[in-house]
């Protein structure tokens, strides 16, 4: 499933670039990304307007309170909710350009003050999870591919198993074993690298299953290439051939997968954040959804989408640099 969506990831943008320098192509891709980001914000803005109920009730402390009509009118004006939706939308976009995400309905302070401190912990978590996932996946690939039927089959089975594991269950089991029973890592909190290991691992294990499935098949292909045979003929050891020759080719498809992975890690980080009581964007998002705090919801969705789109763009550009074959003509179907 993951692979087929990946193939299409690269085929999706219907760039009609036939000739033109790499810079031109990159600029075009960047413009496309910017368009997607704008469309994503617009879509979210209007979809969230569909939320039943008046945002005023969320601002003025839930359905139980009974504010006077004057207060309601004053607050409505304060948050700009008395304006037509289109005006609200345009002013939201304008503020967004200056880095202003509005004011939280619940906390009554600028959104950035709430979610600003949450960004770094989530990025750290996602980053370390990606590193762990790659280490596990590469270990699997190097140790089991082309090492006979039994090891090969075992590697395959473990990958499918890993990929099916729900992150939150992995997290809980890791917490039981390594935090509660063995006491090697803290059960909860955000206190340096040690507190980051278990949450990152809980996200990394299922992801490692996905990455390993992709690197396995490309590693198999690479091992069957003539250049591997010639390297062996030159007397290189098996390990040397695997690491210096085959691995380079096997990693390339994984690069695109990583772009997808960063996005899904940032958005699924919430699970690890909840289990290990860590601060983070995901937790702010879930809290905001429960409390109907639309400005925070919108801001977190925007940030996650922005990170995802940016990483995809960077990987796309990197890909063109690393593998010039992807450059010319034909991404249009």
């Amino acid at each position: 499933m993951s692979t087929s969506s990946l193939d299409s990831l690269s085929a999706a943008p219907r760039t009609t670039a036939t000739a033109g320098t790499a810079g031109k192509v990159i600029a075009k891709r960047a413009a496309g990304s910017l368009f997607v980001l704008w469309a994503a914000v617009t879509l979210t803005f209007f979809v969230l307007r569909l939320t039943p109920g008046d945002p005023i009730t969320a601002i003025l402390g839930g359905a139980g309170s009974s504010p006077s009509p004057e207060t309601v009118a004053a607050v409505r004006a304060e948050y700009g909710l008395d304006q037509p939706v289109l005006v609200q939308y345009l002013s939201y976009l304008g503020n967004l350009l200056t880095g202003d995400f509005g004011v939280s309905y619940i906390f009554k302070v600028p959104v950035l003050e709430i979610i600003g401190p949450q960004i770094l912990p989530t990025l750290q978590l996602a980053g370390l999870a990606l590193v762990f996932a790659w280490v596990i996946a590469l270990a699997f690939t190097l140790l089991t591919v082309g090492r006979g039927r039994v090891l090969d089959g075992a590697g395959r089975a473990v990958e499918v198993f890993f990929a099916s594991l729900p992150q939150f269950w992995v997290g809980i089991m890791l917490a039981v074993v390594f935090a509660v029973t063995l006491g090697w890592f803290p059960v909860a909190g955000n206190d340096g690298f040690r507190s980051l290991v278990l949450p990152a691992l809980s996200l990394a294990v299922p992801l490692a299953g996905f990455i390993a499935q992709v690197t396995r098949s490309s590693f198999e292909d690479a091992l069957a290439q003539p250049f591997v045979l010639s390297a062996r003929a030159r007397g290189l050891s098996d390990t040397a051939v695997r690491i210096t020759h085959a691995l380079r080719h096997a990693i390339l498809p994984g690069l695109t997968l990583s772009a997808w992975a960063v996005g899904s890690l940032v958005s699924s980080a919430v699970v690890a954040e909840v289990i290990f009581a860590r601060p983070g964007l995901g937790r702010s998002l879930v809290d905001a959804i429960v409390n109907r705090d639309l400005p925070i919801t919108l801001a977190v969705v925007f940030l996650i989408a922005a990170v995802y789109i940016l990483v995809n763009l960077v990987v796309d550009v990197l890909y063109r640099v690393v593998d010039p074959r992807t450059n010319p003509k034909g991404s249009a179907a």
Partner: protein, 299 residues
């Protein structure tokens, strides 16, 4: 890639040869021999889960909702196979009772995702450049909401609950289905038999319903099997976050969330629902992959 050189099919039996020299093996016989043991195990476990979902009373030994504070936090033993939870409820019974809701949630979410995906993907695949590229753009925008994000946006609008969780997961998986179905449709549209149908003067709607849809639908079955596992994991994630099924319910994700609070004293409350989520995801994936390989081998 899926060149499965199965020795059982090539080496015609080390067993005592059957009476007739080379009978065309029956369909059932071929099925048995072409299916690896792992797939059989997965299919058997899946059958167990389905049975538990349809007729939980077959396995139930205690009332999953009966509160018995005197017997709280019992570790797994002969009487309580999976132990008891903070209220003395039997975890095994609760896990079994939750199978129906958890599987149904995954199934409903997959169905919703598939319907939306078909509407977008097949339409894009059969229509002209304009509509096609418009739909592609739209799907591309939806892809900007990675992982659970799209589902979370749906929850933000429609509120928490089991039904909205199913819809949310369905919407979240729709872009992926749409993209795959579009590719599939494009392949079918370009196939010679469509050209033949056109040459025979069949009407567009006749070709759409009698030629394109059946040929797109076959691989769909495989997609569904593969998709259900993911949907179950996503839906239970939402319940785990408190956005789907709510605590008293015996839903796996909600039970896990419940058990999280007692990790220090009773690991089994959280462990067993998680094992069942994994089991559901794993068995559907293994069976789905096998069906996919068979389908590819046939084509």
């Amino acid at each position: 890639m899926s060149l499965t050189l199965d020795p059982t099919t090539t080496a015609e039996g080390g067993s005592a040869a059957p009476s007739s020299p080379a009978p065309a093996p029956s369909r059932a016989g071929r099925l048995v021999r072409n299916t690896p043991i792992g797939v059989w195990i997965a299919a058997a476990l899946l059958a167990f889960l389905v049975l538990a979902a349809i007729a939980p009373s077959v396995f139930l030994r205690q009332d999953p909702f009966e509160i018995d504070p005197a017997n709280a936090f019992q570790s797994p033993d002969g009487l309580h196979l999976f132990g008891t939870d903070q209220n003395g409820r039997d975890v095994f019974s609760r896990v079994i009772a939750g199978t129906g809701q958890s599987l149904l949630l995954g199934l409903a979410a997959t169905a919703i995702g598939l319907i939306l995906g078909c509407a977008l993907g097949i339409t894009a695949g059969v229509s002209g450049r304009w509509l096609d590229s418009a739909i592609c753009r739209f799907v591309e925008i939806l892809f900007a909401f990675p992982g659970l994000l799209l589902a979370l946006i749906v929850i933000a609008v429609s509120g928490t609950g089991v039904v909205t969780a199913a819809i949310a997961v369905g919407v979240g998986s729709a872009p992926g289905y749409a993209r795959m179905l579009r590719t599939q449709t494009l392949q079918v549209v370009a196939a010679p038999y469509v050209e033949t149908a056109l040459a025979l003067g069949r009407s567009t709607s006749h070709i759409l319903w009698h030629t394109i849809v059946p040929n797109v639908a076959r691989p769909l079955f495989v997609l569904v099997t593969l998709g259900i596992g993911q949907a179950i994991v996503w839906a239970s994630s939402l319940s785990f976050l408190g956005l789907g099924a709510q605590p008293p319910a015996a839903e796996w994700g909600a039970m896990l969330a419940d058990g999280r609070n007692y990790l220090q004293v009773a690991w089994w409350i959280a462990a067993f629902p998680g094992i069942f989520i994994t089991l559901a995801a794993l068995t559907t994936t293994v069976v789905g992959h096998h069906l996919q390989r068979r389908l590819e081998a046939e084509v």
